[in-house]
Amino acid sequence: MKVRRQQKIQRTTKKQGKNGTPVEVAPKPELGSALIPKERYVSPDYMAQEWEHMWSKVWLMACRDEDLPEPGDHYVTEIRNESILLVRQKDNSVKAFYNVCHHRGNRLVHSFEKPQEAATSFKCKYHDWEYAINGSFMDIPDLETFPQGAPPCGGLTELPCDSWGSFVWYSLNQDVEPLMDYLGIIPEHLDPYHFERMVLTKTLTVEWDCNWKASVDAFNESYHVQGIHKQLLYYLDDLDIQIDCYEKHNRYLIAFGVLSPRVVAPGEIPPAIKVVMKDAGMDPASYEGSVHDIRHAVQKFKRENGPSQGKDYSALNDDQLTDDYHYMIFPNITMNVHADDLMLFRQRPHPEDPNKMLFDYYMYELPDEEFDAEEYRRPLHKQYKYGEVSLGLVINQDAYNLPFVQKGMQSEGYEGLWIGDQELRIRHFHDTLEKYLDSGAVTKK
């Protein structure tokens, strides 16, 4: 491998308490080394198969529990051409409905990705058909002029809906397995981070000119750090990474606050590592140790000083105080999980074009003792085209490159993805996707 030094990252071998995030290495799945056909990224037919056998079968992330604090509070999210209405109920549960009036097909609620405060009912803007917050018909004006009566369904079409990890999830599959079964190891792994304590500080959507899977892939391997993100070679170890594949989902653990073995240790602390120290409350100028020991020094400092900064790290192991515990929840959630923040990407397919996608970016941050809940305002969601907004240097670098990947994939001269061990998560992701598509094919027969 292309390295300038040898390096072994010291990792915690024990989880933090009995409910801590498991740290053991998962058995490496046997996924072969076959080429991944490029048609999966560019073919409208494959896109249709994905919709029929995967998107409409899985659990999907909608919004946060805190977006719907009171009964009647509601939120609309979209997947492909479907619009989903999520409504907080009087019993504190959340119901999901297709966001469509049964009369003439008008979208019932026209807003999108914006928490809406307590409705006592939902009235269609076209002919005033009115639905209660539990979805049932409340009023159909001039009902006596419908000789066939009201639609027999009794109200909005409901979908499976549940909550985990401070997030509300829904599925387009009426027969979907329970959310907790679907998520598998995820709650056990991520509950210690207490996402419910974090607050949303940024939310936006950018339309990217690439297939949604090209985006998922870009965040599922660190092999591209030496190519696209060279500056990160002075921030993380892109080679000694623990990759764990589970049933549907996967993760990798990346040490932050260290140098890559691909670079020689500089005489001074690299600027990005200084930021890690400053964020923890340390003064880089007062640090006398080796650059290689900074990660441990930061872990120790945060362990000792977290409580006085109003941060409860008690459920997290030392590595989690510095490192990226990076999770991919199938099919489209990328989570950069850190003790102090969660950078979450939701990747959605474009409604018609396999060469486009919607990249949803969310930043959640753990408040410190200076946070004022009264003053906090949830940021408003905005949607952009590529190039209209910066997502920070690292994601900008990916976003700049992805359209070229998508263009390249459409070339006659390209057959498919030639995947190495450092990209195992990509292979695992495709394996899961193919299982959905295969099972769909069996059902059809």
């Binding site: 500056q231 070679l233 002075y234 240790a265 500089p266 001074e268 003064d283 880089p284 100028a285």
Partner: protein
């Protein structure tokens, strides 16, 4: 041109890696006896071993924390005793750049300024009868705006003033005092290695800013330090020699 360094005794601080090491290597190659130091015994031992393989003169060294006055003075005394005097002194250690807190000012003062002053005061008695050369390491960041207002730039600037006045005060004893101020220098593990990898664009702009179109090498800095410290520069004292390939743009009248 004979540099006349054979059998001269040279003390260099912070000389197991980077530019300091290249300076030490070159003195050794010129036949001088060289004494080196760094904070860890391990790195001193390794550097002494490596340098001795190619040196004709003696190569010695001992660990020394130059922030510790007594430790530093002891190192100078020990090295001088072992070599039998001091002819050349290169105070090379630096705390480097950084502007994270007020602590950076203290560090650059302690390491760059006091690390030079204490060394100079410790070696001057050895030069009173035989004369000698002191060559300090400055930076072009002291003479032109560079990066941001930071203690490294300002503290290095103070050395240029200090060197000039020393050269006046001790000229009558045959002691010459000069400064070599390098511009951006590229080497493995150096600050510019990091910038080249992490910010290629800025690196490219910096290359083009040089009249000679590239960054300097540690050897090119060492050449100037060794020259100014040698008999070949016997009529040069009190100067600040910018070794920067035309990176700085001022007219030095």
């Amino acid at each position: 041109m004979d540099l006349g360094l054979r059998d001269k005794n040279v003390l260099i601080t912070g000389s197991t890696a980077g530019i300091g090491r290249r300076i030490a290597n070159l003195f050794a190659a010129e036949g001088a006896n060289v004494a080196i130091c760094s904070r860890t015994e391990e790195s001193v031992k390794l550097a002494v071993k490596e340098m001795s393989l190619m040196a004709e003169g003696r190569i010695i060294g001992a660990p020394c924390n130059i922030k510790d006055k007594e430790d530093y003075e002891k190192w100078v005394a020990d090295m001088a005793e072992e070599l039998g005097g001091v002819d050349v002194f290169i105070p090379n250690v630096s705390a480097g750049g950084g502007n994270d807190s007020e602590r950076n000012w203290w560090k650059n003062f302690e390491v760059d300024v006091l690390g030079t002053v204490r060394g100079v005061e410790a070696v001057l008695p050895f030069m009173q009868e035989t004369g000698g050369a002191i060559t300090m390491i400055g930076t072009t960041a002291a003479v032109e705006t560079f990066m941001e207002p930071q203690p490294y730039n300002a503290m290095k600037a103070s050395l240029i003033t200090y060197a000039k006045q020393l050269s006046q005060a001790h000229g009558d004893t045959g002691v010459r005092v000069n400064v070599v101020s390098p511009g951006p220098i590229y080497f493995d593990g150096g600050a510019w290695d990091m910038i080249k990898i992490s910010n290629e664009k800025f690196f490219g702009i910096t290359e083009k800013t040089h009249a000679l179109g590239r960054l300097g090498t540690p050897e090119e800095v060492a050449n100037c330090v060794v020259f100014l410290s040698s008999q070949a520069a016997s009529w040069v004292t009190g100067v600040n020699l910018c070794v920067d390939g035309g990176y700085t743009k001022r007219v030095q009248l």
